[in-house]
């Protein structure tokens, strides 16, 4: 008897046209067609999305929480990348 539920897939939903795809959860499925169908049944029962991405979980590469300091460090001291770094004369108003 098979107990196997198939591999895990990560599901991303696009709520409306033009909006980014957002992770909504995961599920089990044996292949990509079944992953899409399961995602439709599980995550869009109330019109939560108009488009679905299903990605095998093991294809996702993630940064490590332990490296959070060193990994993102290069951008931390570059305040000049932010608009508020620059002085604009009051006479110019909003820019």
């Amino acid at each position: 008897m098979s107990d196997n539920q198939g591999p895990v897939w990560e599901i991303f939903l696009q709520k409306k046209a033009g909006q980014p795809f957002v992770h909504c959860g995961s599920l089990h499925a044996f292949d990509k067609e079944m992953a899409l169908q399961n995602a439709r049944d599980l995550y869009t029962r109330r019109g939560e999305g108009i488009s679905i991405w299903a990605v095998p979980s093991n294809a996702i590469v993630a940064s490590s929480p332990e490296d959070i300091g060193s990994f993102f460090e290069p951008s931390n001291d570059k305040v000049y990348r932010h608009p508020t770094f620059y002085q604009i004369p009051d006479a110019i108003g909003h820019m």
């Binding site: 107990d3 895990v8 959860g25 044996f30 079944m34």
Partner: protein, 313 residues
């Protein structure tokens, strides 16, 4: 990093009300506590489909039938959200299901009570889902990210469940004398089992202290139970029904109702397998799983075949 540094980072997150994510370091006992709690929660959703499923074929109208079907389907969905949240902690789906099917894992004691009449479907949606919402609203801010996100999704859907239950109760309570009696009978049988859903009193709850410390729970069993009583009594009064508790009384000092504790001896007995439907529920789950084996096998074989055709082309 040294272990103490990991602990500091973890404690720091809790102190700042930040969420813990799957790849973050966490104490073993935190992980164990979450696996136990999330899997029990998932099992409760799945087993919870059974008492309501009992009435799908006997729903009194087509409208009632499609509503009940949609609700039971939601419960299945909730179970799946929660299983995948538990799996992020390093336990497999097969292991989780096996723990349920062998009786090793627990599920909410409420689902070991039978749904004898159509009014029970109203009472379950209104009271049982109402109590579940109280707990789940709190859990939307639980400290483990995947659990909290599953809860946000679930809470959005639960509201429909409670409202459809209350609608059934209003139809019966404002119907014929027989219908009203049926509603009262359902309230009589579901009131105390629902009160038990929040768990034992704080003074006797073995897991509460850690759950609060780790911000898994933010309110205690007794606090949630009190909130539930305060919210539900006016609804009972609206229906013209009576809470089966002679000691129920408004207490102006605490701005809440005084109430009788449920029978905790019964609670322990039901939890340990001796409720009216424990055996029936486990048998039904095992039967569904075993009889579904061919579906899993066929899906697997179909995926394999499709892959071979794709690779050959």
């Amino acid at each position: 990093m040294e272990l103490t540094q990991f602990e500091d980072v973890f404690e720091g997150k809790l102190a700042k009300n930040e969420m813990v994510e799957p790849k973050d370091w966490m104490p073993d006992n935190y992980r164990k506590h979450l696996i136990r709690q999330i899997s029990q929660h998932a099992h409760s959703e799945i087993v919870g489909m059974l008492p309501e499923g009992n009435w799908i074929t006997r729903a009194p109208s087509l409208r009632a039938k499609v509503v009940l079907l949609a609700k039971v389907q939601d419960e299945g969905g909730h179970g799946l959200y929660l299983y995948t949240a538990a799996e992020t902690l390093g336990i497999s789906r097969d292991e989780l299901l096996n723990n349920l099917h062998t009786g090793k894992a627990k599920y909410s004691s409420i689902f070991n009570y039978p749904t004898l009449t159509w009014a029970d479907i109203g009472a379950v949606g209104w009271l049982v889902d109402g109590a579940a919402i109280m707990n789940q609203v709190m859990l939307q801010r639980t400290s483990y990210g995947p659990y909290a996100r599953a809860m946000v999704r679930i809470c959005k859907e639960e509201s429909f469940h409670q409202r459809q239950g209350f609608e059934i109760m209003t139809h019966l309570s404002f119907g014929t004398a027989d219908q009203k009696a049926m509603a009262q009978d359902a309230l009589n049988r579901w009131w105390y089992p629902t009160m038990m859903m929040f768990g034992p009193p704080d003074s006797e709850s073995p897991n509460s202290e850690n759950a609060i410390k780790w911000r898994i729970k933010r309110e205690t069993n007794d606090q949630l139970r009190q909130k539930f009583v305060n919210q539900t009594v006016p609804q009972v009064e609206y229906l013209g029904l009576t809470v089966p508790d002679a000691n129920l009384k408004w207490n102006e000092d605490k701005k809440g109702y005084d109430y009788s504790e449920p029978n905790w001896v019964e609670f322990k007995s039901v939890i340990s397998g001796n409720g009216p439907c424990n055996k029936q529920r486990l048998l039904a789950r095992n039967k569904a799983h075993d009889e579904g084996a061919w579906v899993r096998e066929a899906a697997q074989a179909f995926a394999k075949k499709r892959k071979e055709i794709y690779e050959a082309a």
